[in-house]
């Protein structure tokens, strides 16, 4: 994983696979801290499974034998003095909280966040997503349900929609003056 955006795609895909109807992604940038919170209402996991997901040789899928998503993100967090925490309830959903040192020399770059978020929204039309970026006191929020309401019967999966969202997110994040 070269950047944090890739980790984001990865974790949100987990929620999509867990049949979440709504995924919330909250990014907080305060002082020297960068944090990501993922909240989904998917199928959830029992306590034992939660312990197992940090093991790279555990996966719930059958197409392959390894599951590296969580271990890799944990590594990225820990190398900047942060951590990754998972809490989950069966039938209710899962929350993943990741904390990183914002100015730590080993923090991976953010990568292309606007296109990542745009593609998550348009690429998983069955799952709704609320994206929030908090920078100190200011914030930017994008709710996929609002996007769909505006689009009406125009398909959200059309490339033109993704391109638009990408630009819109990029411009708004620039307004927020995000460090990354």
């Amino acid at each position: 994983m070269k950047d944090l955006s890739m980790h984001i795609t990865d974790i949100v895909q987990n929620s999509v696979r867990a049949k979440a109807k709504l995924v919330e992604l909250i990014i907080n940038e305060t002082g020297d801290q960068l944090s990501f919170t993922f909240v989904d209402d998917g199928c959830g996991m029992d306590e034992e499974t939660v312990k197992k997901v940090s093991d790279p040789f555990y996966t719930s899928r059958t197409t392959r034998k390894v599951g590296l998503g969580i271990p890799l993100f944990t590594q990225s967090a820990e190398q900047t003095g942060g951590e990754l925490k998972i809490s989950s309830t069966i039938g209710k959903g899962t929350t993943v909280e990741v904390r990183l040192g914002l100015n730590h020399i080993d923090r991976p770059p953010m990568g292309d966040l606007p296109s990542t978020v745009a593609m998550l929204i348009t690429g998983n039309p069955e799952t709704e997503m609320i994206f929030t970026y908090n920078k100190e006191e200011e914030k930017f929020v994008l709710d996929s349900r609002e996007v769909k309401e505006i689009l009406g019967d125009v398909d959200i999966r059309l490339p033109q929609v993704t391109s638009f969202l990408k630009e819109m997110i990029a411009e708004n994040l620039k307004e927020l003056n995000t460090t990354i």
Partner: protein
């Protein structure tokens, strides 16, 4: 300074899109559009699936190709990531493996536009063989 884009601009764009899309498919049938699924699990992401999806969206937007691009999970071809599945209208889905930017360009210009197969197909099912057996 120019104004920052907001959802209000999306509303404007929607009308434009709507008139274009509706002209071509009155029947409201999404199966008539090209569908592209990009495998986006850890294996795909790590090998650059995101860049490929981004590239395909940009290209198809530029060339005004009407296609639906979505993400999907691991299809089990981790050895051949990034992989994408392309379904042309009235055709069986075809999975392409090891898709770099060059191949993505080829897939758009040859397969999606002209229907010519290009290198890198992963055989995912053996329906043809089964059908022959039944004959």
């Amino acid at each position: 300074m120019s104004k920052v884009k907001s959802l209000a601009d999306l509303r404007k764009m929607k009308d434009e899109l709507q008139s274009k899309v509706h002209l071509r498919e009155q029947s409201d049938n999404p199966e008539k559009l090209v569908q592209v699924k990009v495998s986006m699990a850890t294996c795909g992401i790590a090998s650059g699936a995101k860049e490929i999806m981004n590239y395909m969206i940009d290209e198809m937007d530029n060339q005004a190709i009407e296609a639906l691009v979505t993400q999907t999970g691991c299809m089990g071809f981790c050895h051949a990531e990034p992989t994408i599945e392309v379904t042309l209208p009235n055709n069986a889905p075809i999975v392409y493996g090891h898709v770099d930017q060059k191949r993505a360009e080829e897939i758009i210009n040859k397969y999606i536009i002209r229907g010519e197969l290009v290198d890198g197909i992963i055989p995912v099912n053996y329906e043809t063989v089964k059908e022959n057996k039944n004959d």
